[in-house]
Symmetry: C2
Amino acid sequence: MTTGRPLRADAQRNRGRVLAAAEQVFAERGTAASIEEVARTAGVGVGTVFRHFPSKEALLQALVVQRLTRIAADARDHATSPDPGAAFFDFFTAVVHGSATKLELVDALAELGIEPNEAVAPVAADVTEALTALLQQAQHAGAVRRDIDVRDVIALLAGASQTRRYAPDDRPLAVILDGLRVPIAQ
Amino acid sequence: MTTGRPLRADAQRNRGRVLAAAEQVFAERGTAASIEEVARTAGVGVGTVFRHFPSKEALLQALVVQRLTRIAADARDHATSPDPGAAFFDFFTAVVHGSATKLELVDALAELGIEPNEAVAPVAADVTEALTALLQQAQHAGAVRRDIDVRDVIALLAGASQTRRYAPDDRPLAVILDGLRVPIAQ
DNA sequence: CTAGAATCGGAATCGTGATTCCGTTTAGAG
DNA sequence: CTCTAAACGGAATCACGATTCCGATTCTAG
């Protein structure tokens, strides 16, 4: 990462606006939305978008990194809970709810297990690490099945997110969470 | 549907080739793959593709219809099994396995719950009907939780399919199936 | 076998959207 | 306040891919 000198104040602000606009636009119209629309939403010119992100792909990647960074932080946050079982399920639910209208998160999560990318790989590893800790705690607490591993959880996070395209409610999610639970004696 | 006179023999054959090529290409490269690539794979000219399918969207739609038609038939087929519980889970697994490398099925299934489309609506309704029957049998047999409805199953089919992008194995699928099962007394 | 219709192939056309360029406008150091 | 580098806006450029068109080819009725 080319960490040059600090950005000029206005540049810093515009960068943030572009990122926010991109998140919104791509979530609403899908990643096929044009850069021009992102620029318009951000209230800047297309040139500005490209000065901050050399290509559309770079912009998408920045969004993925941002999303994954938040997820990792969220996982760490939940890991401090006194109730590891509830913390795990809360985290899982929060991530699924966090996947915007469209499949943004799905794409974001895709990076976790697919195509080792220069920029996202480190963040992906970070998410995996935080998630592993959270999962193990929940397993030790007897709340989650022992035969589940991080990869399963990641795949299921993506799957559960996908689910919301069809049913805006949490019913399918509940089924998946039940599948992860240690069965309760009847 | 404009059922004109029967197609000339070669036209019929080319239509099939295009459909097969499209299924393969879109599965491998995603729906963003170009029509030219589909044409090349099918061994025909782009003009031929467009004569059979007036637009790329129409081609995609034809694929969806084809896929859904197969799924409906598969559901009906499983509904005749003497073991409704096993039949339901077998069907579910088969559909998930059937979603090619990429998210083709996901898009196909998307049509089931989203955007009531002129051409796919009837097939979607057909799938829903067949699936409802299969589900109810499994529930009556005590194999699937009573509080699950078809919409949940459809959403979970899509979710489970998504899952395979991250883990090529059936572990995440197994978790989802467990979530659907009626818990066994310990 | 033959004419005519149905198809075909693929070059040319069109539109859209990513990316580049450069004259104009600021932030901020001195 | 003044000057210069850093940023900006957005028109112009480029590339790519969908769709159109039409002369060449291939079925199949008779």
